[in-house]
């Protein structure tokens, strides 16, 4: 019970901390919308030339495009690490690692709060404006909210690992760029994974990045059986979190026991 209250507080804290940057979030939503419009036109040109490509109708392709833009905020598709990255660089992470509450659960609660806020401030505007400007399809599956939430958790699990690697490297920019690159390309942000050629498509659809953007979008579109989609996301969520827990133990040994 006490634990539940703690994590609820952390969730609220994450939500509130981001809500102080409303102007920034709305500016981000504006930029995401502009990019959504530009990408939508490219996809329209493509689908008009090749109707039914990747199994999507034209309206579904446009919907996909605005959904990917709407996911940028909550899923942090540009791969930015978690807020405790700064604390690793300053050495303050030692205090976090010896807290009674595990860092993983603790930062997950906070990150979910952040995602909840950004869903309101950065996901709704591109979706609504996209629907106003173009023909889009409504979500067919009641499972979409769950799939969306799992997408956030997978994204968190990935970013947690990326952030923790800073405990072992002096300069983490290389890792962060690599993360941004993989996430953007393999999540479906740049183009729907269904457009990728043969083997690349197979690989991309198996990676955790697909669980962040492509899969929730497909659940919205009803393009994939919901249980299979949710199972895939759950699998990656569990795998990444498990790895995260292991890496936390290693980090504690490195930072707290050996003193950095």
């Amino acid at each position: 019970m006490a634990a539940f209250v703690l994590y609820l507080r952390l969730f609220q804290y994450g939500f509130r901390r981001h809500s102080t940057y409303l102007a920034a979030a709305l500016a981000g939503a504006f930029t995401n919308t502009v990019f959504g419009v530009l990408r939508a036109y490219v996809l329209i040109a493509l689908w008009e030339a090749r109707p039914g490509l990747a199994g999507y109708t034209l309206a579904e392709a446009v919907t996909f495009c605005f959904l990917t833009q709407a996911f940028i905020g909550p899923m942090q598709v540009f791969g930015r690490g978690l807020s405790f990255g700064d604390r690793i660089r300053s050495g303050d992470i030692a205090f976090d690692l010896v807290r009674p509450a595990p860092l993983l659960a603790w930062s997950l609660a906070e990150d979910l709060g952040r995602a909840a806020y950004l869903t309101l401030a950065r996901s709704l505007p591109p979706t609504i404006i996209g629907a106003a400007l173009f023909t889009m399809v409504a979500p067919v599956s009641p499972w979409f909210p769950l799939s969306f939430a799992l997408g956030v958790v997978v994204s968190f699990g990935w970013r947690y690992l990326v952030t923790l690697t800073s405990c072992w490297t002096t300069d983490d920019r290389g890792i962060h760029t690599l993360s941004a690159l993989l996430t953007m390309f393999f999540s479906g942000m740049v183009l729907p994974l269904g457009l990728f050629p043969g083997w690349l498509r197979t690989v991309a659809e198996a990676l955790p990045f697909a669980a962040m953007v492509q899969v929730p979008a497909d659940v919205w579109l009803g393009a994939e059986p919901p249980l299979q989609a949710l199972g895939f996301q759950l699998l990656w969520a569990v795998a990444l979190m498990g790895l995260g827990a292991l890496l936390t133990v290693a980090a504690r040994r490195k930072v707290v026991v050996q003193g950095g």
Binding site: Y21, A23, A24, L26, A27, G28, F30, T31, V34, F35, V37, L38, Y41, V42, I44, A45, L46, A49, R50, L53, T170, D171, R173, G174, T177, L178, A180, L181, M184, F185, V190, L191, L195, F196, P197
Partner: protein
């Protein structure tokens, strides 16, 4: 000009010296920006023309827009960090120095890693050059130059906007990065109203689209007069003038931070 070079040089030296993974940042910037080129490649796996343009022709548009943007970004793109400087109070410091704050902003923290983006665009452009007929090749350097001026002006307008919207600097990205994304594809794929807007309001159509219609000898889908193809320098100068005025107005309205 002299101050810019001196400052940029000092910064580039410092960045190469004090920042360990200099190479990593060049490669990163190259790879991240090359994703857009990869996307074009994937699109053309499914079609032979997009908006009536072949892969090589689209690469020509991507390359010219990309090179112009990368040069503008390398030289002046740093001014997009204005709101950070305003909040940190470092913009105050730039105002007490005898060099234009614009130059100081542009050169501040100059790092040669920004050439990663340029390299990627140059490669795509050089691959596309076979589509350019010799007799019209003279337009290519000119369109890149005017493109640099237009993108620099857009960066400056975006920064000027940050004087008003200190807490929402991301708004400028829609015009800067959104601008280069727009120019990566033939404007014939976009809706007519959007094309009109980027011709007459924010003249991004003059970065590469209008001149490329001349180079590639294509009709204008909107049927705009033929002299528009040669009007890019005029559009660039007009926009640069607006940007300079907006920047000055921004400095006059600058309110510092209350401390």
């Amino acid at each position: 000009m002299g101050s810019y070079l001196l400052l940029a040089w000092t910064w580039a030296r410092a960045s190469a010296q004090y920042r360990t993974s200099f190479a990593v940042s060049i490669v990163s910037s190259f790879a991240i920006n090359a994703l857009d080129a990869v996307a074009i490649g994937i699109v053309f796996l499914h079609v032979t023309t997009l908006g009536g343009f072949s892969l090589r022709e689209v690469m020509f548009l991507y390359g010219t827009g990309g090179v112009a943007f990368a040069v503008a970004d390398t030289l002046f793109g740093n001014i997009e960090r204005l709101s950070q400087h305003i909040k940190a109070g470092t913009f105050d410091t730039m105002l007490i120095r005898p060099v234009s704050p614009f130059v100081q902003m542009a050169a501040d923290g100059f790092g040669a890693h920004r050439i990663g983006r340029l390299a990627q665009a140059v490669i795509v452009l050089s691959l596309a050059l076979p589509v350019v007929p010799w007799s019209r090749a003279w337009m290519v350097p000119l369109m890149i130059l005017t493109g640099v001026v237009i993108f620099t002006a857009v960066f400056t307008l975006g920064a000027a906007l940050q004087f008003l919207l200190v807490d929402a600097p991301e708004i400028a990205n829609a015009f800067t990065y959104g601008g280069v994304t727009l120019t990566q594809y033939p404007l014939s794929v976009y809706g007519d109203q959007l094309v009109r807007a980027v011709t007459f309001i924010v003249p991004l159509a003059f970065v590469n689209w209008q001149p490329a219609l001349y180079v590639l000898d294509r009709p204008d889908p909107l049927g705009l007069p033929a002299w528009f193809r040669f009007a890019a320098p005029l559009a660039a100068l007009l926009l640069a003038g607006c940007a300079a005025l907006a920047w000055r107005a921004g400095i006059r309205r600058y309110r510092s931070t209350g401390s």
